[in-house]
Each structure stands twice: as structure tokens, then as C-alpha cells.
Symmetry: C2
């Protein structure tokens, strides 16, 4: 049933072209001119005035398609998406390597179909597609798969578990809920449309039935593309620009910092932990994801005046520029002192402590979603960051930075790490291959 994609009921574009045969209007027609004003009363643009048979426009938001096959899995360097789901599974009792391989094969087929904007499992019959994404374009959907530490024991592959999956050390700000941490398998779903993302989540869950059970599941979001004239350096729910220091794909060392090299590529590298041998080439082009549910104590944070918030962060709230001056992309001057002789970017400022300069060049690609799960029992917002960072080696990326933050970050009193996961994310699947095949079938 997985990824058969044979149905075409009420849906065009099941021919491999994806969205291209659907009704596409130019972006200019999408919602009228920028600056449209909706009257509150009886305006022509009102909701009820849109007749159901009046076409609206599938814009680039809907039409953009991320590629399933490739050297890397999607969802790592893909631009931030408006909606995300994280879901972790544990293999079912009795399921082992064979069942895991079959599941990864089914999941990969589903991911490929859905990312192309096609239904999964046909539109009728058993295992039919739920229809939630009918009519919608791919909407930049990505589905990314990772393996947790326990996956290797469950599949009899303990001997091939990479050193990068050694348990993360404890941190003093951790208040981790084990039931919402780790897991045998991890799936990250992102899309610019919430229904497309939910549709993928349900399809992934359905394929798992009998093979793996849900361990935990979280929902997140980012800006809708086009809602801001600013670039996609996101603001988080504290109102801070978040992601400025991220490595850029144009950096010479981007790939070596973010993606695991193949054994051949790593030849000559100094046997650093994580440098793979040939039996680990399933991980070549892959990465490690560290996932942390970080609650923001917003009621406390929002009480701080903006200038105090800026001292905590070390950057201006308005535009993300370092307190040492310039604009968002100006390098921090960590030695600059004010007229009073004190450091302009305080000693315990978050941006200082987490800067690559202060961490032996440690770098990770942060690609988070914000989350908001309503009001907690104590009346405070259950909101914050689904922090996801990507690196070739978590013990040279996330761990040293977090260890340092743990010792003296001025931001710590406003954060609470509530869940944690570490996953090895295999390289992308070649055509005809499924994700993880080189591990599970060799």
C-alpha cells in the first residue's frame, strides 16, 4: 500500500510532474496587490464572498517541491518551514532488523510521494490516502528520518552504532521528561501548509502500525513565507532574532561541519571521533540531529525591559546587531568596552558564550521550530523552541557549546530543557533506495 500513488480521483498531477498540471495562477494574482486592506463589513474580499467555485491561486508557497532523493536527506538545509511535526517511535515488541527495514522502505516511499504532492496509498481502497492534502501543492514538504541509540540494539546492529550516538552528557538546566525524549526512530516533517504537514504525519503514523508505536510527538511553527520583509533569520517567541550565527552553505567548511563524510572523504582525517570507516558509509552525507524541547519562561522574560533583554542576549532586539555595533551580520567585537570600561557584550551574554570563536570553531546548523501548546497547569504559556541542530559530530557541535552555556549563560534562567533526543540521520537515499538501506541491508 505504501506509496502506490495510483489513484487519481479528483486530483490531477499524479503523473510525476506533481503540481504542474494543477491550476497555477501567477503570484501577482494570488491575493491582489501587496497592501490589500480588508474592510470589516461586507468588503468585496470578505470570506463568504469567495464562491467555492472561484479559483484562487496556488502560489510558490504551495508549488515549491523539495527533492526526496539526493546526497543528503531533505529538511536539513531546506529553508525554514511554517509548520513542523516531530514524532518519535519505538519499534514494536518483537520487531527487529527485518521489520525496521520494511518500515523504512514504506516510509521512504510515502515520503517521496507526498513530497511530490501526490497521495500515498491511492485515494481509495484499504490504506487509502486520507485526502487532507487533496488540491494542495507540495508546499515545501520535507520528511526526514533518524535513528536513535536504542535502534541499534533493537535491530541487532549494536556493533555498528556510531560513536556520535553516545548519550549526551547531563546539563544543569535539564529537566528532561524521559517519555518525551529519545526513541528508536525519529521523523521530522516540515511544510509551509499546516494541512499538508498534518497529512504527512498521519501517513507516516499509518505506515508504522504494527511495526512501531508512537513514543512522543510535538508540533511547531515558523513564520509564513512572505509575512515579513526580513530574511528568514527567524524571530523566536522571546522576540529575538535567532540563527544569525548559523554557518552558511557558502562557507568553505559548511559540508564538513554539518554532514558526515564518507570513509573515502575522511581518509587522512586525524581519526577524530565520528570519522567513519567504510562499514559506516550509510551515514555518509548524513548528519546528527540534536532535538531539545526548550520551554521559554515567557512571563519572566517579558517583564525584563528591552535593554536588559539585550544585555542577556548580547544583540539588539530590533535588528539582531551585536551590541558592539553594526548590523545583524557584523561580527561581534567581543573585546569592545564601553566608556565605563565594561564589556559592551557582557561576559555572560548568550551570543558571546555560544559564539564559534569561543568554542574552538564548534558549529552547528540550528533549524528550529517554535512551539506553543497552550497554557500549562500553572497558568504560564507552554511555549518555546523545538531546538533542532545539525552537525557532523554532536560532540564537536552541540555538546561543547551547551556545556559552556550551562556554566554561565545569562539566558539560562529563562529557559528549561524539557526533552532531548539525539539521532543519527542517514545520508539521502539514491533513486531506487530507501533511507537507511545501506545500514539495514549490508
Amino acid at each position: 500500500m505504501a506509496g502506490a500513488g495510483t489513484g487519481s480521483q479528483g486530483r490531477t498531477g499524479t503523473d510525476g510532474v506533481g503540481f504542474s498540471r494543477r491550476r497555477l495562477l501567477g503570484s501577482a494574482g494570488a491575493a491582489g496587490a501587496a497592501g490589500l486592506v480588508l474592510g470589516a463589513a461586507g468588503g468585496a474580499a470578505g470570506y463568504a464572498a469567495s464562491r467555492p467555485d472561484e479559483p484562487t491561486a496556488l502560489t510558490a508557497i504551495g508549488a515549491t517541491e523539495a527533492m526526496f532523493h539526493g546526497k543528503h536527506q531533505p529538511g536539513i538545509t531546506t529553508p525554514l518551514q511554517a509548520r513542523g511535526h516531530l514524532i518519535a517511535f519505538d519499534l514494536a515488541p518483537g520487531a527487529g532488523r527485518k521489520e525496521a527495514a520494511a518500515l523504512m522502505r514504506r516510509w521512504s516511499a510515502v515520503a517521496r510521494e507526498l513530497m511530490a504532492g501526490r497521495p500515498a496509498g491511492g485515494t481509495d481502497g484499504p490504506g487509502h490516502d486520507t485526502g487532507i492534502a487533496l488540491d494542495a501543492g507540495p508546499s515545501s514538504l520535507t520528511v526526514t528520518f533518524g535513528f536513535g541509540r536504542t535502534f541499534f540494539d533493537r535491530t541487532g546492529l549494536t556493533g555498528r552504532r556510531p560513536a556520535g550516538l553516545d548519550p549526551l552528557p547531563p546539563f544543569s538546566s535539564d529537566q528532561l521528561d524521559a517519555r518525551r525524549s529519545n526513541g528508536d526512530l525519529w521523523v521530522q516533517i516540515g511544510a509551509d501548509d499546516a494541512l499538508v504537514a498534518f497529512h504527512a504525519l498521519r501517513a507516516i503514523q499509518k505506515e508504522a502500525v504494527g511495526a512501531a508505536g508512537v513514543r512522543w510527538q510535538m508540533n511547531g511553527f515558523n513564520r509564513t513565507p512572505g509575512a515579513t520583509g526580513r530574511p528568514m533569520t527567524a524571530r523566536n517567541l522571546m522576540g529575538q532574532i535567532d540563527g544569525t550565527g548559523n554557518p552558511q552553505q557558502t562557507d568553505d567548511d559548511f559540508d564538513t561541519r554539518i554532514f558526515v563524510p564518507s570513509a573515502a572523504d575522511a581518509q587522512g582525517a586525524s581519526g577524530a571521533p565520528g570519522a567513519p570507516d567504510a562499514s559506516q558509509d550509510w551515514l555518509a552525507g548524513g548528519s546528527y540531529a540534536v532535538v531539545r524541547r526548550i520551554r521559554m519562561l515567557l512571563d519572566d522574560w517579558e517583564k525584563l525591559p528591552v535593554d536588559r533583554q539585550e544585555q542577556v542576549i548580547g544583540r539588539r532586539k530590533s535588528d539582531g546587531a551585536p551590541l558592539s555595533g553594526g548590523s545583524e551580520t557584523t561580527p561581534m567585537d567581543l573585546d569592545k568596552a564601553g566608556p565605563d570600561g565594561r564589556l559592551v557584550i557582557p561576559d555572560n551574554a548568550h551570543a558571546r558564550i555560544s559564539s564559534p570563536e569561543k568554542n574552538g570553531g564548534a558549529a552547528m546548523l540550528r533549524r528550529p521550530f517554535s512551539y506553543h501548546d497552550g497554557i500549562s497547569a500553572d497558568g504560564t504559556p507552554d511555549a518555546g523552541l523545538l531546538f533542532i541542530c545539525w552537525q557532523a559530530d554532536p560532540f564537536r557541535g552541540f555538546v561543547p557549546v551547551q556545556r559552556k552555556l550551562d556554566r554561565g549563560d545569562a539566558l539560562s534562567p529563562f529557559l528549561r530543557h524539557e526533552a532531548s533526543g539525539l539521532f543519527a540521520v542517514p545520508g539521502g537515499a539514491a533513486k531506487g533506495e530507501y533511507v537507511g538501506q545501506r545500514l539495514l541491508e549490508s
Copy 2:
């Protein structure tokens, strides 16, 4: 502090023009041509390749502004928004009419500022704006206020409580959680950007401190504009097109069905329940919102073959056309029988039972959000519909239809009403006025 909007730190457009001075690029530049394909590995469009100082486009999604002032409040006929928050408050112990009036004044000022894309409370100093929406356009933000039955007792206005706020009758499918039902005050927030919506939610909560406490809060979503080439008749999480039968603003009787008339307008009307006298003119141009958190039992629903789902609904899943033929907007032929002599649209089909033809012309404007709060304790998805319907009189809109559905709707086994609210939504505020002023100050 409310709505002072005096700060301009890092932000243009605090001059009443709203977003117009921000960087606006043509939609065509927004995300390239429709049909953009993102390579998974190192593509030029990759996330990390977007330098933070590279502008992206504020498209119509961000730039669209709904009007706060008007005959009706916004958020009723406004096109469906991608993200929504519902929040109910109870007045604080000791708070009465005076405090309620002050709160409505503050809330209205905040709503007006935020809907224009301006910060609320300035960008610095006590009560400063959180900054979460800095840089973003208004993004079709709407904030809508309603009063629950208990509000009138708390404010000493029991005598002016309209008959439309009489308690809803119980229904057999109700499994209502009182803690997530009703409330003195109700606020509906909608926007096409999740951070803009969250920003408004926090601002509304902050203004309430000391005057009202949060009773319950729910989050919802709809399609992102442009994700589909279909019109904004939404699909819900069952995959069904939902909203086809909605009254249209172009209908002659739209206003009389959805909005409460003024006493003058109602003159000559047959003294129907809900027809106001002059002392109730605070409600003129207003409406009643019935809010139901309707859990969808998706694990059960998705097991049904599509043809069975279509029998339950009475419409085709693919395009929403009635089973009697035609397209989505073709009127249902409720008498049409198949070759076997059986009704093509079954007797207990949801679309038949809820059709205005079968309910004495009862009509309501359904304007829902979907919700998804993760996985329940029993492993099933905690997902469904934040059903919101608008009508001039709930006892001629929602109640008769729901009563009928309650008796024989084939969809009922797949739904569970978990929370319920009924709110009188005052008419829109004139310039210089706040929402509810004509009730609270006369």
C-alpha cells in the same frame, strides 16, 4: 500602556500607514516562479545560503490589513486565516463593570494597533511590546471580542443580557469539559502568520493581568493562502471539504442571518426572539458565536473506505460535489434515488441533515480552525475542529441544526464535542470607541 504605539526602535511604519513604509517587493519576487524545486543538497535556495542581510519579500500574505473599526467586528467575514487562537477569560475576583470597561478599552486599543501592524505598548519601558511580530506585516490579523452569559452577572448587567445567551441545550454527543467551556469573555485571534498571531495572544493576555484570568485557551490552523489552487472552502482533518453550504455575502439575506439588527432595523420584524430593543443596540451589527471543540476520531474515520466516508457525508471527497451529481456548488438533489431505489444522498448523511432546506432555512456562517494538540493519553490524535459559527440568533442557527444532527447524523460516531461556548459579539467599534462601550457605558 495599551496601544500607545509610540516606540519606533528598529521598526518603520509606526505612523498610521502601517506596513507601507516597510520593504515591499512585488509578489513575483517573493519566492521565484511557481514550481520552484529545491534540491536537497547544497541547492542555491537552501536555508543556510540565505544571508541574514538579504531581503526577502513581504507579500500580500504579510501586507494584508483587516480593519478594526467598522459596523461589524473583524474576524467574522474575514477570509479564513492560517493560524488562530481562542482564549476565554473570567473577570478577576472583585472586578465588575468598571474594570470590564477599562479592560475592553485597553484590549480595543491593542487590537487596533496590532491589526495595523504596529507594536502595542511601545517597544521599550514597562509594558513594552514583546517584539515577536517585529518586521512582520499585519498578516490579516484580526482580534474579535465576545461576552459570555456570566459576563452580565459579573458586571451587574443581568437585566441587559440578551435572550440569545440563554444556555445551549444539551446534546447526546456532548462530552463537555466545563473547564474548557464558556467564560465571561472570549477573544478570537486569527492571522496568516503564526508569530503574528502568538504576538497578539501575548499582548491580549498581558492587558488582562489583574482584571481577568485565563479560563481556557486553544490553538488552531487553516490552509496557508496559496498552498492550494482550490478556493478557501477548507478541507478539514477528515479530508472533507467543509463550508460549501455557507451563506455567501452576496446573498440578499446574508446580513439578517448573520448579524443582529439594530432596534430601528428590526422594527416591523415579528418580535422574534433576539430582536433587540433600543437598549440592546450595543449588539447591533454584532453576532453570536457558538464555539465547539469537536474531536475527530480519526483512527476510526480513516479506516472507512472512501465510498463509505462519502455516504456518511453525502458529498464526494474529491471535490465536495453532492452525491446527487454536479460540482461543489450544485444544489443537492435530496430526492434523487439510485437504480436500487435508495436515496443517493442517504437519509442520515451529514450534508442532508445539516442542509438549510431541511432546517427551516436556519443558517449560520461556519468559520472554523482545525486543531491538533498532539497525541492523547490513549494514543489517538487529539485533533479535530475548533468549530465556530456565526449567526444573528443561535436558537435559529446552531441549535436547530445541531439538534437535528444529534438525532441521526451518520457522522456523529466519528465526532466528540469536548467543549462548548456561546458568546454575544458586540457590533464593531466606531472610531474613538472601544468594543462593548455602548453596553458598558450606558
